[in-house]
């Protein structure tokens, strides 16, 4: 890898670009993951409520 970059500046420009793209992917990933988790919460809510009612 180091062979193709002659300056630290060029190396960092390339690696930071990759990192920024990964960060964008992380942000989208978090959004998707959060929607996935909260969907399950939304499904569980009526169940929990039913359980509560039963135990009374």
């Amino acid at each position: 890898m180091e062979g193709s970059f002659y300056t630290l500046q060029d190396f960092m420009a390339y690696t930071k670009l990759v990192v920024y793209l990964i960060m964008v992917a992380i942000l989208f990933g978090i959004t998707g993951f959060w929607l996935f988790l909260s969907e399950r919460d939304a499904d569980q809510e009526p169940e929990e409520h039913q359980n509560k009612v039963q135990h009374h």
């Binding site: 630290l8 960092m12 960060m23």
Partner: protein, 357 residues
């Protein structure tokens, strides 16, 4: 508001974690990057400069810059210290010679075309590029005009067209990149009448400088300015007095600009990856705590209700028991009385029978 230990820790770690992340994320340093092989450099021998300003005139002509108010032949401008500006890529300044006041020191100043340019590191549109030939070139077609490069340059070289309302550019020495590509030398180097400027491959220029110092130890101080300053530059200097006397900063250090910001840049993706985990964790802990609190509350209420019921039940039971006891008492009493009455009646009957006979 109760500040629980957990809440405090949550705040503090969320604020202070980057302290730990600060300087460790620096996988590469310029030591592992050798620069473009065969890139060019210039040696400026300050002891040879006489302050004639012919280099300034040549630069002005080659770059088609507007002519200054005072002509280049006018040496009175040397009475003041000048810096590069939007119309002058290079300037020559005169300095006091403390060792030999009769021979003032003259030194040329221009972009040093650093091996790891601070301007390139700072520019957020990548308008600066270190070329294989050694020139650090500027692309005015993408420049937004934020002037961060001017903040970053430790040598205070980039100048700006402040009086241009709509198309202002950064102005700095180009190392005559177009000329170099054609196999020519930079305009200033060609024009210098005293050969104070020498052009060649960087390693050759370094050898040349070392050779001059070795051959004339009483003439030069034993240091090549630009060999390691800010990670190394393409314009190298040798001088008779301290470089400070020639108006050059000696406290810049050897760390190249990209390394100065590598730590901060390295921490950025860690925040993006870990903060959501940390914050969701804090949120989940709080949710659980609230849930437990709500559950405990519910249990407490339920228990209270049950206790009240139990109390009432007991009250009722004891009341009933009492009522039962009272009823029993009454019953007993009634039975007693009935028995008594019966006995009395029986007794009376017997007494009557006895008197009848």
């Amino acid at each position: 508001m109760t500040l629980t230990r957990r809440r405090f820790l949550g705040w503090m770690s969320a604020a202070g974690a980057s302290t730990l992340l600060g300087s460790s994320a620096n996988a590469a340093s310029s030591a592992s990057f050798k620069g473009f092989p065969g890139s060019f450099a210039v040696l400026h021998d300050i002891t040879l400069c006489v302050g004639c300003r012919v280099c300034e005139a040549a630069c002005n002509k080659v770059n088609e810059l507007p002519l200054p108010d005072k002509p280049f032949k006018d040496l009175t401008v040397l009475n003041e210290k000048r810096r590069t500006n939007a119309k002058a890529f290079t300037v020559v300044n005169r300095f006091e010679n403390e060792q030999n006041p009769k021979n003032p020191v003259f030194a040329k100043k221009q972009c040093n075309h650093c091996l790891e340019p601070a301007c390139a590191s700072a520019c957020f549109v990548k308008a600066f590029q270190k070329t294989p030939e050694g020139s650090v070139v500027y692309d005015h077609t993408v420049c937004v005009g934020c002037r961060y490069c001017m903040i970053a340059c430790p040598f205070n070289i980039p100048a700006y067209e402040y009086d241009n309302p709509l198309t202002p550019r950064i102005m700095k020495c180009t190392f005559c990149h177009p000329r170099i590509l054609q196999g020519l030398v930079p305009g200033c180097v060609e024009a210098c009448p005293k050969e104070a400027l020498s052009f060649g491959k960087r390693k050759d220029i370094l050898s040349l400088a070392r050779e001059r110092i070795r051959k004339n130890p009483e003439r030069y101080i034993d240091h090549i300015y630009g060999e390691t300053e800010m990670g190394g530059t393409s314009w190298l200097y040798i001088a008779g007095n301290s470089f400070k006397q020639a108006g050059m900063r000696e406290d810049l250090g050897v760390t190249p600009a990209p390394e100065l910001t590598a730590g901060a840049l390295g921490a950025v993706p860690l925040v993006v990856g870990l903060w959501p985990v940390l914050l969701t964790g804090i949120y989940a802990i709080n949710q659980r705590k609230e849930k437990i609190n709500a559950e405990e509350k519910r249990i407490a209420v339920a228990e209270a209700i049950e206790r009240t019921h139990a109390q009432e039940k007991q009250k009722l039971a004891s009341a009933m028991e009492k009522a039962g006891k009272d009823a029993q008492k009454e019953k007993d009493l009634a039975i007693k009385q009935a028995v008594k009455k019966a006995l009395e009646e029986a007794q009376q009957g017997k007494t009557e029978e006895a008197t009848d006979v």
